[in-house]
C-alpha cells in the first residue's frame, strides 16, 4: 500500500449544515445513481438526553482514507490510492463484487451496484470522473450553508477526521 503525496477531502462543517439533504440528492441526481445507492448520505446525530439534548448533522461520503481499509482487504487489488492526489479509486474491470470492502469500511461507504457485468463496488470519487461539472462537485455547489468544501489536507489532518467521524458514528449507533 503506497502512501500518497497529497490528501484531499470534502471537509464537512456541522455548524453550517441545515440537514436539507441537498448534497445527498444532488449527488444521486448528477451521478445518476440507482435507488438505494448513495455516494453521500446525511445523518441526524443526537447528543444528550431530554430536555438537555441537542442534535447535529453529518454529511458523509468517502473520506479517501490515509490507509484505506477497503483497499487492504480487496482480494483482487481493484482498489488503489493514487499517489499524486490520494484519491481512492476502484477499477471497475478488476472488481469482482465480493463486498469485502463494504465489510471492512468503518464508514459504510462502498456501494454494491448492479452493472451490465455483475455487481461492482462504486463510491464517491470526489467527482474525479466528472470534472466537466465546472470543476465543483454538485454536493459542494448546491449546499445553502457552504458546509462542504474540497480541501487539500495533511495526512495527520485526514487521520484526525477519520477518527472524529468514527466517533460520531458510534454516537449515532448509541441511539
Amino acid at each position: 500500500m503506497s502512501i500518497s503525496a497529497k490528501e484531499y477531502l470534502i471537509v464537512f462543517e456541522a455548524e453550517k449544515c441545515l440537514q436539507c439533504h441537498a448534497c445527498e440528492t444532488s449527488c444521486s441526481s448528477w451521478r445518476e445513481l440507482s435507488p438505494g445507492i448513495r455516494f453521500r448520505r446525511v445523518l441526524n446525530i443526537w447528543n444528550g438526553q431530554y430536555p438537555r439534548i441537542k442534535n447535529f448533522s453529518l454529511s458523509l461520503s468517502c473520506l479517501h482514507c490515509v490507509e484505506p481499509a477497503c483497499a487492504a482487504v480487496c482480494p483482487v487489488e481493484a482498489i488503489t490510492k493514487r499517489k499524486q492526489d490520494g484519491l481512492v479509486l476502484v477499477d471497475q474491470d478488476l472488481c469482482i463484487g465480493c463486498g469485502a470492502c463494504g465489510q471492512a469500511c468503518e464508514f459504510n461507504v462502498p456501494q454494491m451496484v448492479e452493472t451490465g457485468e455483475g455487481e461492482k463496488m462504486k463510491k464517491c470519487d470526489l467527482c474525479f470522473s466528472r470534472r466537466d461539472f465546472h470543476d465543483i462537485p454538485p454536493c459542494i455547489d448546491t449546499c445553502p450553508g457552504k458546509a462542504l468544501q474540497l480541501r487539500e489536507v495533511s495526512q495527520s489532518e485526514k487521520r484526525q477526521v477519520e477518527q472524529t467521524i468514527q466517533g460520531v458514528l458510534l454516537l449515532a449507533k448509541a441511539f
Binding site: 436539507c20 441537498a22 441526524n44 431530554y50 461539472f133
Partner: protein
C-alpha cells in the same frame, strides 16, 4: 453555478440549459421560488443546478429541487383528461380531449349558476401557487366569493398581526442579536431560501437563537435554547410573557404612551396569566418563561419569527395577538434588528385579482367565511375556509356548494375530517380535480384534468421581492393537456368570461400584467437570470403611516381605528369577539379534557413541513422517498419503552376520532408527553415498492385524528382548525 458555468456544463454533457424557477415546494409565492438551471438532453429533463444570480437561493438548491425530473416523469402522471363513467369511488373513467373537458365543465357550471346562483361554485385552494390569484379572479368573474383557502396557514398570522399592529412585521434577521423562532421551521419551509440562510448567518455572527416547538428538528438542534412547548399552547406562553414584562416594567414607556391603545386593560388582563399557570398548560417551566421574557425585553435588537405552528389551534389568533402586543410594548416594532414593517414595492406587476369588484353583496354570500364577514375581504380577496366549504355540502347550511374544483390540492388528506370529506364528495353534484399526478380522491371526481408541471410551461412570470423572472419551458408537455392557468383561461372563455381573461390569451395577459415594470415576457426571457432589484434603504419607526393603513374589507376601515397598536381591540369587541387575547384549550388536551387522559394519555400533533416532501404530494418521488421511506411517529424513548415499543415497530395511534398505523421512531428530542408525525402520507412509490396507505382509519393520514367539532376545533376569528388531540400509542399486533 452562474449562467456561464451552466452553459459550459451543458456543452460538456451535450445538453441544453434552460434557466427557470423551481416548482417543488410551497413557497412559490412572495419570498420563495428559487432560480434554477435546468438541463435537457434530447428533449428530456435530466437535472438541476441552483442559480447563483438569483437573490432567493444564491446558487443553492434543496433535495426537493434536485428530484424535479423524477416528479416530471413520474409513473403517476395523469395522462389524459378523464370523465367519470362508473359510480363515485369506483374509479372508472373514459378518456376525453382537453376541449371536450372544458366544454363539459363549462356546461355544468353555467347550469349550476342558473339554478343555484354563482356562489354554488367553490374552489379548494392549495398552498400559495403561481396560479392562486387566477383562481380568485375566476371566481370573482363568475360571481362567487368561495375561494377556499386552507384556514390554517399564513393568512391566520397576517390577520391577527394586521389588526393588532397594522402590518405583519417580519424579522430583521441580518441585524438581530436574538432571534426567537416560535412554532417556526426556518429550514424545511425553504431550505435554501433567505430565512434558512439568514439562520446560519445569525449563528455565525454569534446571535442568540431560541427555538420554541414541541420537537427538536435541526433548527432547534442548532439553537442556543430550545423550549419544548406543548402543541397548541402558545397563547398561554405568550400571555405569560406579557405578564412578566409588564410586571417587571420591561416596557418601552414612550412607545406605549404614544402608540398603544389599551395598555391599562392589557396590564389588568394579564395579571392572572402567571408563569406558574402557563407552565401547567404549556409545559415550559416558569423559570424558562421568565428568562425568555426578560431576555427578549432587555435585548434591543431582538426579533420574533412566528411560524405556522401557531396557526392550528382555537387560540391561534390569541397567541399571535399576544406576540404582536409583546413586540409592540417592548419597543421592538420597526426598529433595527427587531420586527420590521414592509411597504409594497414602488413598482409591481398589475394585480391579477379584481379587487374593485368585491362588494358587500358578494361577501354576504360566503358559504363558510374564513374570517368574520365584517373583516372580509382580507388580503387574498373574499375567502371561505376550505373545510367549511366541505361541510356545507353535508349540512346544506347556509346553503350547499354544488360544484367544487380542486386544483393542486387533495381534500381527503390535506384538510381535517377525512371521513366527512369523502361523505361530501359522495354527495356533491360536481367535482373537478386538476393535478399533475394521481390524487387521493380522484375516484370521486366527475372530471379529472391533467396539468403540466411548471417545467412544461412558459408562464407565468415570477415576481418576488428583489427578483423578476420568466418561467421558461424546460420540456414540452408530456401529454395532451395544458397548465392550470391555461385550464382556467380556457374555462373562462368557454363560459363567456373571455373579456375578463384577456380573450383567453396568456401571452397578452402576461405582457399586460408586466406593463408597470416596463418589460414584456419576450424581453424578460432574454434575461437568463431575470432582473434583480436591490431593496431600498430600510426605514424605521414608520408608525404614523402604518397605523393609519386601511384594511381591504368592504368600506376599507383602518386596521387600527385609533391609529395605534390595538392592545385592546375595539374592532374585535364590536364584532362580538374578545378585545384581549385569551387562553382557549384545544378540543382535547392534557389540561382541558382531563377525563380523557386515562384512555388517551399522550398529545398528538403533526409536522406541517419536512425536509423530504411538500404537503401531501411527492411521496411518489423516489429520490425523496429514499430520505424518509415510511411514516414515522416521533416518540420519546421512555414513552416507547413504557409501551414495550422498540425502534422501527409498527404502532397504532388511536384518538377519540380515528386511528393511524405508523412506524415508531425513537426520538430523544421530543417532549415525553407528545408524539408527532408528518402530515400528508398516503401515496406509495412504485419504483421503490411502496404501496398506497389507506386514507381513512388504519392508514397514515393524520387528518383523521382530529376533532372537527364546530364549537371546539376552530378559532372563531381565524379558523385555524386544531391539529392537536390526545392519543394512546400501542405496539401493532397483527391479530388486531
Amino acid at each position: 453555478m452562474d449562467y456561464q458555468q451552466a452553459q459550459a456544463t451543458a456543452k460538456a454533457y451535450g445538453e441544453t440549459v434552460v434557466p427557470s424557477v423551481c416548482a417543488m415546494c410551497g413557497p412559490g409565492g412572495p419570498g420563495g421560488g428559487c432560480g434554477i438551471y435546468a438541463f435537457v438532453k434530447n428533449g428530456r429533463f435530466t437535472r438541476v443546478a441552483g442559480m447563483d444570480e438569483c437573490p432567493v437561493n444564491r446558487g443553492a438548491i434543496c433535495a426537493k429541487g434536485h428530484a424535479a425530473p423524477q416528479w416530471v416523469y413520474s409513473k403517476d402522471r395523469l395522462s389524459h383528461p378523464l370523465r367519470r363513467i362508473g359510480k363515485k369511488g369506483e374509479g372508472r373513467f373514459e378518456k376525453i380531449s382537453w376541449d371536450e373537458a372544458i366544454t363539459y365543465i363549462a356546461e355544468v357550471l353555467i347550469e349550476q349558476k342558473k339554478k343555484y346562483g354563482p356562489e354554488s361554485l367553490a374552489i379548494l385552494v392549495p398552498a400559495k401557487r403561481s396560479y392562486s390569484d387566477y383562481l380568485q379572479r375566476f371566481l370573482t368573474v363568475h360571481g362567487s366569493p368561495n375561494y377556499g383557502h386552507s384556514g390554517i396557514c399564513v393568512m391566520q398570522r397576517a390577520f391577527a398581526f394586521m389588526y393588532t399592529v397594522g402590518d405583519w412585521p417580519k424579522p430583521d434577521y441580518d441585524k438581530s442579536d436574538l432571534i426567537i423562532y416560535w412554532g417556526r421551521q426556518p429550514i424545511y419551509s425553504g431550505p435554501v431560501a433567505r430565512p434558512a440562510r439568514a439562520f446560519l448567518a445569525a449563528k455565525q455572527r454569534g446571535a442568540k437563537i431560541v427555538a420554541i416547538k414541541p420537537s427538536m428538528e435541526p433548527d432547534a438542534g442548532l439553537a442556543d435554547i430550545w423550549l419544548p412547548v406543548r402543541p397548541g399552547t402558545d397563547a398561554a406562553l405568550a400571555l405569560a410573557m406579557l405578564h412578566v414584562v409588564i410586571r417587571e416594567d420591561l416596557i418601552d414607556h414612550v412607545f406605549v404612551t404614544q402608540w398603544c391603545e389599551g395598555f391599562e386593560e392589557l396590564q389588568q388582563h394579564v395579571r392572572r396569566f402567571t408563569p406558574q399557570w402557563a407552565e401547567s398548560i404549556c409545559g415550559v417551566t416558569s423559570d424558562q418563561i421568565e428568562m425568555l421574557a426578560r431576555l427578549y425585553a432587555n435585548t434591543p435588537k431582538a426579533t420574533i419569527d412566528v411560524g405556522n405552528g401557531l396557526e392550528h389551534a382555537p387560540s391561534s389568533s390569541d397567541a399571535i395577538r399576544a406576540v404582536a402586543s409583546l413586540i409592540a410594548i417592548t419597543g421592538h416594532l420597526d426598529r433595527p434588528g427587531s420586527n420590521l414593517f414592509s411597504s409594497p414595492p414602488e413598482k409591481a406587476p398589475k394585480p391579477v385579482a379584481l379587487k374593485e369588484r368585491y362588494t358587500q353583496e358578494l361577501v354576504d354570500k360566503l358559504v363558510g367565511p374564513e374570517f368574520p364577514p365584517m373583516f372580509q375581504p382580507f388580503m387574498e380577496g373574499p375567502s371561505s375556509a376550505y373545510y367549511r366549504i366541505i361541510e356545507s355540502v353535508l349540512s346544506e347550511k347556509p346553503y350547499p356548494v354544488r360544484g367544487l374544483i380542486a386544483p393542486g390540492t387533495q381534500p381527503s388528506v390535506s384538510t381535517r375530517g377525512t371521513k366527512n370529506v369523502f361523505a361530501a364528495l359522495e354527495k356533491l353534484d360536481f367535482f373537478v380535480t386538476a393535478d399533475v399526478t394521481r390524487t387521493a380522491e380522484m375516484a370521486y371526481a366527475d372530471v379529472v384534468i391533467p396539468v403540466t408541471t411548471p417545467y412544461e410551461s412558459n408562464h407565468p412570470f415570477h415576481a418576488v421581492p428583489g427578483w423578476l423572472m420568466a418561467t421558461n419551458r424546460v420540456v414540452e408537455p408530456l401529454g395532451p393537456y395544458k397548465s392550470t392557468i391555461e385550464f382556467f383561461f380556457d374555462l373562462a372563455v368557454a363560459m363567456g368570461y373571455g373579456e375578463d381573461f384577456w380573450g383567453g390569451d396568456i401571452g397578452i395577459a402576461m405582457d399586460d400584467l408586466l406593463e408597470p415594470l416596463a418589460v414584456d415576457m419576450e424581453q424578460l426571457r432574454q434575461k437568463p437570470h431575470g432582473l434583480q432589484f436591490k431593496p431600498g434603504p430600510p426605514h424605521y419607526e414608520q408608525y404614523e403611516e402604518v397605523f393609519s393603513r386601511l384594511s381591504p374589507a368592504i368600506g376599507h376601515l383602518p386596521f387600527l381605528p385609533h391609529g395605534k397598536v390595538a392592545l385592546y381591540n375595539t374592532l374585535f369587541e364590536e364584532a362580538g369577539f374578545s378585545a384581549l387575547p385569551q387562553w382557549k384549550e384545544p378540543p382535547e388536551s392534557l389540561t382541558g379534557t382531563v377525563d380523557l387522559i386515562k384512555e388517551y394519555p399522550l398529545i398528538l400533533s403533526d409536522y406541517h413541513t419536512s425536509k423530504s416532501f411538500s404537503a401531501s404530494w411527492q411521496r411518489n418521488v423516489p429520490r425523496l422517498r429514499e430520505i424518509e421511506p415510511e411514516p414515522q411517529l416521533h416518540i420519546h424513548p421512555d414513552t416507547a419503552l413504557a409501551r414495550g415499543i422498540i425502534q422501527g415497530d409498527w404502532v397504532k395511534v388511536l384518538s377519540p376520532h380515528g386511528w393511524i398505523k405508523v412506524r415508531a421512531e425513537l426520538y430523544p428530542g421530543i417532549r415525553p408527553d407528545t408524539v408527532m408525525v408528518l402530515h400528508g402520507w398516503w401515496q406509495g412509490c412504485a419504483e421503490l415498492g411502496y404501496e398506497d396507505y389507506p386514507i381513512v382509519d388504519g392508514g397514515a393520514n393524520v387528518n383523521v385524528m382530529y376533532s372537527v367539532d364546530a364549537d371546539k376545533a376552530y378559532d372563531p376569528l381565524v379558523t385555524a382548525m386544531s391539529s392537536q388531540t390526545l392519543v394512546q400509542v400501542t405496539k401493532w399486533e397483527d391479530r388486531q
